[in-house]
Structures are given as structure tokens and as C-alpha cells.
Amino acid sequence: MLRLILRDLRLVLRQGSDATAALMFFVLCVVLFPFGVGPEPNILTRIAPGVLLIAALLAALLSMERLFQGDFEDGSLELLLLSPLPAEGVAIAKVAAHWLVTGVPLLIVAPLLALLLRMPADQLGLLVGTLALATPLLSLIGAVGAALTLGARRSGVLLPLLVLPLYIPVLIFAAAGLDAGLSGLSPRPHLLLLGGMLCGALVLAPLAIAAALRAAHE
């Protein structure tokens, strides 16, 4: 599994484009908001959590379509499913690699963007913590959709339609946690719920991904 994660990471390092595109998308998306709603600091502070989360969510979705596509088209995925590694292991490894190349850079950039949106500096730790719980969830749930739409016609439109409704709980709890922090309340219950969802998704999502990958090769 580690071998597969390393291979995917190396693949991204060589080809680059996908991961950096997602990151650039995230940055630009956030930067556009002040132009849309105006530069008043109060408004920006108020909407900063939502903006950052929705931009992160869309960035994750953007890179998600290619998650299995390349390996599906060149036959690697078929060989992976026939390797001694169980299909669930393949799923976890692919998702882990995806999170490392798209989620982690996002965690690093998000505090800088939060400052641009006038988020108070003492909230940045909370922001990173929340994103650290939310982004793996986005990767896991998105990967289910990516695996389901493998080989589909117009999978580019289909994927958001399938995945975005499932992202709603993640968005709600992550935003609630950040809002609680901004208004001086404890974000703990929201983060615990997010953590619980992450644990559940870590167990269930690989099963669904594996089933979908197998179905794609029947």
C-alpha cells in the first residue's frame, strides 16, 4: 500500500499539473470573493469560514475526477485489482495519495488566505484543525463518486451531482465549528462530530470505492 502511495506521489511530482491546478483554483476562488461582496472587513470576516470551506470543497472536487481516471485508462487499475493487494487497500492508498497532494497543501495555504479575508489570527489554528478533519473526508467521499463514474459518459457533470449533496454534512459541521470559534464559543462538539464522521468514512468509504472499482472492471 505504501508502495502505491509513493508511486502516486511520485507520479504527481513528475507531472505536477493536477495538484497545483487544484491549489491555484482554491487560491483564486477565495481571492475572487472580496471582489464579489466588497472589501468591508466585517462582511469578509463573517463569510470567511464559509468561503474557505466551499473553495476547499470545490478544489477537492476538481482534482477528484482524475483520481482513478488515468489508472483506469491505461490498464493500471485493472492490474492493481489483480495484485495481491485487496481492492479496499488500493482504494485507501489512492485516497491517501490524493489527500497528501491536494489536502495538505491546502492546509498550508488556507491560513494565509484567511488573513486576506480578515479572519482573526487567533482563529487560524482552529481553521487548520477543522480543515485537517474536513479535507480527508472530502477526499474519501469524493473518491466514492469518482469510482462510481469511471467510464461514464459526461462524468465531469455527473461527479458534482453525485458528490456535492453528500458533502453537505461536512460543510455544515466544519462551518459551524469555525463560526463557533469566531463568536467565542467552543468548537469542540462540531469538531468531535467531524472526527466521528471521518472515522465512519474511513471504514465505509473504502468498501464502497472497492465495490465501485470492481464494478467498473466487469
Binding site: 508502495r3 511520485r10 513528475r14 492490474l79
Partner: protein
Amino acid sequence: MTSPQLFTGQDLLCLRGGRLVFQDLDFQLAAGGCLTLVGPNGSGKSTLLRLMAGLLKPLRGTIAWGGVALGQDPEAHRARLHYVGHLDAVKASFTCREILAFWAGLRGAGGVDAALAAFAIDTIADVPGRFLSAGQRRRLSLARLAAAPAPLWLLDEPTVGLDRASVALLEGAIARHRAGGGRVVLSTHIDLATPGGEVLDLAAFAPVEDDQDGAEDAA
């Protein structure tokens, strides 16, 4: 009863896209044996190979290794097979050596250099995948067979894109594999020398239209 060494299929029936591909198909393959699948396009050669690999499940019938059905222990089966399909799984930005090392590593083996030599790609070992010709890609795909030992080879049209010299290399590899007790199932359109191997003509198992349908209309 099947003896424990046999790789067998019994009474296989497969449906693809609502169409019956073949039915009542049986095969058996002992250690050191080779089964060559022939038949016209669409007769189910690839389908049968994918059934043997466990990618597909037969609608009826069982495939078993030593009497144990594949479905009962899919992991053991995956560990014992090599599958070479139509796609070569070559990544444009990795060199031949890296690609081969990855696939061999997944099976915990490391005979990369020998395998590269066995299919005459040692001279291009450090060339990235994007510069390979179709024949070179195919040879790289075949080199996986030599890099990590596995008792069962499932080869779907392995000779596509290969020149005469490379076909000879493949024949040699198959012969060595069989001499060591390995089994091979392959489909091909050209004559590939497989001394002592059996031939399975899939056209013989094509569905016969029967009256079954008429009876259902009444129901």
C-alpha cells in the same frame, strides 16, 4: 472430483451486455500445461480470460483451483496469477525500470534486471514510458511475468505489436515457465509455438438459439 493440482472450469456460462457469450464451457489445466484460446472476434476469449482472473464472475458454473472455487479465496488466486490484457499499464513519466520495479514490488519480488533482459528491454531501461513504441510497451508489460514468479499466466493477445524476434522471446519465456510447472492460458490470432499445449475453440460453445423464449412469451 477434480484432483488438487488442476485449474478447472465447469459448465461455465457468461452473459455480457445482455448477450449470451458462451455456455456449457469446460476446461482443465494441469501443472506445466498450456491452453490456447481460439475463436472469431466476439466469441469470448477475453471474457474467459477475465473470468479466469476473477475480474468477472460467471453467471453459472464454477472456476476452481485444486477444487477450491475462486470466489472462496480470491486473494490467494490473485497472488498466484499474472494477467496481461490489452492495455499495457505504462505511465508516460516513469522509466521502464521504475514501472517494472513497482509491479514486481507489489508482489514482493525484485528480479527487475533479469526480467528486463529476458524481454530485451534492458537497453532502454531508463527511457520514460512516453517514448516507447507499441512493441516496446508490450514487451515491458510482458516483462512483469518474468519479474515476479506466479504459477498462472493469463495472456490476452500477448503477441499484438510484437516483432518476430520478440515473439520468439515470449515463446521461450512460456516454455521456461511451463518447464518449471507453471500454467499458461493465452488467446492469440497468430501461431504461437506451444508444444504439447491444448487448444480450446470457443466457437464450439457459442449459444444455440432455443425455444425457451417462446415458452416465456406465454408466461
